[in-house]
């Protein structure tokens, strides 16, 4: 079964450093998403991306965040200057609205630890 893959599984960084989280969405999907989950809390939407541009973003997704689809397979989330409160699990998801139900499939996540 096709799946969304994310790398790395765990990223440790120092406060103020830039990090890039990587995702390979399911190959025929057209919509891409990033969500985050702070430990013990609910999953929160960050941003959706379609046709090489952001289609929707939350208030969490400020100027420190950016997304990119640098080639035909990868989808990345960059945090320019990490803060302690950015420590969370970050989930990538993808979907194809042409398919019934437009199900979003989630990757296993990247745990980001900011020290």
């Amino acid at each position: 079964e096709p799946e969304v893959t994310q790398t790395p599984s765990h990223q440790v960084t120092q406060m103020g450093q830039e990090v890039i989280l990587r995702c390979v969405p399911i190959s025929n999907h057209l919509y891409f998403y990033w969500y985050r989950q702070i430990l013990g809390q609910k999953v929160e939407f960050l941003v959706s991306f379609y046709n090489n541009e952001i289609s929707e973003k939350s208030e969490i997704f400020d100027d420190q965040f950016s997304v990119e689809r640098p080639d035909g397979s990868n989808f990345t989330l960059k945090i320019r200057s990490t803060k302690l409160e950015d420590s969370a699990m970050y989930f990538c998801a993808s979907s194809d609205p042409q398919l019934a139900k437009n199900i979003q499939y989630f990757g296993a996540g990247t745990r980001l630890s900011v020290l």
């Binding site: 969304v4 919509y31 998403y33 969500y35 809390q41 609910k42 999953v43 929160e44 939407f45 959706s48 379609y50 289609s55 929707e56 939350s58 989930f91 998801a93 979907s95 609205p97 139900k101 437009n102 199900i103 979003q104 499939y105 989630f106 990757g107 296993a108 996540g109």
Partner: protein, 113 residues
């Protein structure tokens, strides 16, 4: 108005029992209500979903009951098994677009052998 409220926060059920998790919403634009199951160290995985034009959907041991007038929906897990122990999230989305999923706060379910 974008929130989905979920209860209980945690739930312990004996093996073979019925697990019930409840959710409520306010936004009448929500038109698609999925439930996600999450195991430790994994991403959320779609378990079952319903649209509000039906009052119930059943897939195996999992049933969603939907009350559109009350803006409430619930997940029932029949004959609960230890392998069902996970965190369950109710969620909502505007079906007409590939929009974001709004998640509930999650319920940590433990099934006792």
């Amino acid at each position: 108005q974008q929130q989905v409220k979920q209860s209980p926060q945690s739930l312990i059920v004996q093996k073979g029992g019925i697990s019930i998790i409840n959710c409520a919403y306010e936004n009448t634009a929500f038109d698609y209500f999925p439930w996600y199951q999450q195991f430790p160290g994994k991403g959320p995985a779609l378990l079952i979903a319903i649209r509000p034009d039906v009052s119930e959907k059943k897939e195996g041991r999992f049933t969603i009951s939907f009350n559109k007038s009350a803006k409430q929906f619930s997940l029932h897990i029949m004959d609960s098994q230890p392998g069902d122990s996970a965190t369950y999230f109710c969620a909502a989305r505007e079906y007409s677009s590939a929009s974001k999923i709004i998640f509930g706060s999650g319920t940590r379910l433990s099934i006792r052998p």
